[in-house]
Symmetry: C2
Subunit: 206 residues, 2 copies
């Protein structure tokens, strides 16, 4: 954090940080190119050296968010140790935890109205996060007798949907959170357990 001279040195990251703090304060779309520059201590023209426009800045923010998100999910999965089921539970908690700890990243990724399909690097980062979840589902499915395995991709989508649904409705960090008389973590764990029982992974009496 040395006194900066004429060159900032790390303006790109500083702008992303500024966007994150602005999103925290005012919601996604509550930031402007000009204010991000001001927060980074730089003239309003400086961001143009790094981003074509406002959209490129939010995409870069979301991209970084997806990478951190993917890394957290992968770490939570930890190759399915000690058991796929307990590891999977950890992944769900990591999903919720990310949304709570990094609401600004989460908003940039899921609520800023940007489309992962539109940008190759964004798409790759988003896929990496989904792949972590998908690999966990593959490991779960591998534990089932071959003739009873559901389509793994479908299972991944379902578990993604329930995890995302619980997070978006009950687990968000802002005022739009719906109140439930049970923590989102417990709600998600119970839901995933019921789903896995229904899909045949868990016996009926669990």
């Amino acid at each position: 954090m040395s006194k900066r001279g004429y060159h900032h040195g790390n303006l790109k990251s500083a702008l992303v940080d500024a966007v994150l703090s602005l999103i925290s304060e005012k919601g996604p779309n509550g930031f402007s190119f000009a204010e991000a520059a001001r927060r980074a201590g730089v003239s309003p023209a400086a961001p143009y050296r790094h981003f074509k426009d406002r959209d490129e800045l939010i995409i870069e923010t979301a991209r970084r968010g997806y990478e951190i998100f993917a890394a957290r999910l992968e770490a939570a999965w930890d190759e399915g140790r000690p058991s796929p089921l307990s590891a999977f539970d950890r992944v769900g908690r990591a999903y919720l935890g990310f949304a709570r700890a990094e609401p600004a990243y989460f908003a940039a990724m899921f609520e800023a109205g940007i489309a992962p399909e539109d940008d190759p690097t964004l798409r790759a980062a988003a896929n990496r996060a989904f792949d972590a979840l998908h690999r966990a589902c593959e490991a779960l499915a591998a534990r089932m007798p071959e003739d009873k395995r559901p389509p793994v991709l479908m299972m991944s989508y379902h578990l993604w949907a329930i995890t995302h649904g619980v997070t978006a409705l009950f687990g968000r960090a802002d005022d739009a959170r719906r109140r439930a008389p049970i923590s989102p973590e417990e709600l998600l764990e119970a839901g995933a357990t019921i789903y896995l029982r229904g899909v045949g992974f868990l016996p009926k009496d669990t």
Copy 2:
């Protein structure tokens, strides 16, 4: 649609309509007080007769959205006819259908960063929508042997989460939709079926 004179006659609704078309074009938060007035064919000061500020306008939009949404879910449920299960499936499809047919309302309700808790009438409208889903779950639970019923509220939250998750990820009408090799309707129906099997509502071999 007669030629309007000095008084608009239905400005409040016209402003909400303008907001909806603006959200459709530019996403939630992509509208301004001034532009909504322009679209309604009225001077920029006119909206102040009906709304304190921009926020009150988006809240009114979301409130109307929740009421239409609740009515559609209630109609889809149709008191559980002909059977609770088929009626419940219809409710899920109505949820998805609303998000697809009315993306602007959906965005105002779930993605504009407003909090249902903050406004009593908004909250009431949002609750009415959730209640439709909750009553459907109660009817499902009533079909189960009393000693095996799960907590109905939890069941409602779970089915809400999976429905909302599928909708927000795969069923949205805009570019942020995730592509899956299966329609959101089928994905949701399969997910709900698996969940209901897991919770004991459906026998293991369905």
